[in-house]
Subunit: 224 residues, 2 copies
């Protein structure tokens, strides 16, 4: 069950998966956020082997997503509660739920999210908290952050042309806009500019401006 | 590498994990949505063993998230492109990215999502598409859907008391509200009503109204 570790990858997705990427862990978090607390509750819910469950619970405690609390001294018994970090995992579960309902529930949803008052079914989408705009291309782009290493920067600089949005990208000069002072701005990105077919620019690996000009918008969200 | 299948679970999260829950698969989808297309591109990006990569690509094609296209007859070479279903997986990646940046990037973000025009960093949250309201408790609840089996219904009916929102829940009569005709409403749920401590009501397994009255709001989202 040991696998290659993603821990030395700087990608935030890989790092999250390192901690909670294992199937069982995600379902354990689902159950913990649902309110299950005790070993036998998780075991009954998941039909998981005890040794596997113990291992995954320990890993989730070590990763800071669950907190272990002793609720009985004799016999010694622990319960497991989501931490703040564990509660922050909920959006991942909601995104998985929406994806599963859309694509793998031909007979209809077995679990769904509704307005607690009206019972109207919700349709989860991801937006920017500040502006409320849906996070999708080409309005938003994935870019190297301030802690990006050379590998990440090169990765984004070398982005394949085929990834550029075919329908929406229009050639034009990069338009880096000054960021509002005091905002959480950590980077700037020019407007999406497809490279001419066949062109792959060389660049000084340390020229981050040149790097950023070539950053393509990572396709995000999907047109609803 | 063979594990217990989640396919016979009706939970939409489990079903999604069944198809794309493997670590590598999620990173392959990340790369595919980034624009990588060819076997050697994925291999170089991930440092994954060829036999493992081939297996995961085949699984993602079988699950309908990637489409295989031959781009060379001699020698035979395929490329892999995200399908519509594959593009719908992006919100899961965005949720994982936000979670990783928040909790596992002590040195700062290595990859972040920004407004493509201004460079201002986005803060991804999940909202209901129609109303724009953040999906969190107690405003929204997870409930059995129309295709829920008996096991799912019982699961929600038996929800542990500890899961009820401690700070927000207030006792009161259930207030099922008629759903707008023609909406995508699939269920109704009464207002969250904590059961008195120690009480666990028995109920007729086929009395779905009684079932729904006892549904607690599954804590969602987290107060920002």
């Amino acid at each position: 069950m040991q696998r290659k570790s993603f821990r030395n990858m700087s990608c935030p997705i890989a790092r999250s998966l390192e901690r909670v990427g294992e199937w069982w862990s995600i379902l354990i978090m689902r159950d913990a956020l649902f309110g299950l607390r005790r070993f036998d509750e998780f075991q009954k819910s998941l039909g998981i082997a005890p040794n596997m469950l113990a291992r995954r619970l320990n890993a989730l405690v070590a990763a800071g997503l669950l907190e272990r609390r002793r609720y009985s001294a004799h016999p010694p018994r622990n319960e497991y509660r989501p931490t703040k970090r564990g509660r922050d995992f909920r959006p991942v579960l909601i995104a998985l739920l929406a994806f599963g309902n859309r694509h793998f529930a031909p007979e209809g949803a077995s679990v769904t999210i509704v307005d607690a008052e009206t019972g109207v079914e919700a349709e989860p989408i991801i937006v920017d908290r500040v502006t409320g705009r849906p996070i999708r291309e080409p309005e938003f782009a994935w870019v190297p952050g301030p802690a990006a290493g050379e590998r990440t920067r090169q990765r984004y600089a070398r982005r394949p042309h085929s990834a550029l949005p075919e329908a929406t990208a229009s050639p034009g000069p990069p338009r880096p806009t000054p960021s509002p002072a005091g905002s959480r701005t950590r980077g700037r990105v020019g407007r999406v500019r497809p490279l001419p077919a066949g062109e792959r620019r060389s660049r000084d690996a340390h020229d981050s401006t040149a790097c950023q000009k070539q950053i393509g918008a990572y396709k995000e969200g999907s047109p609803k």
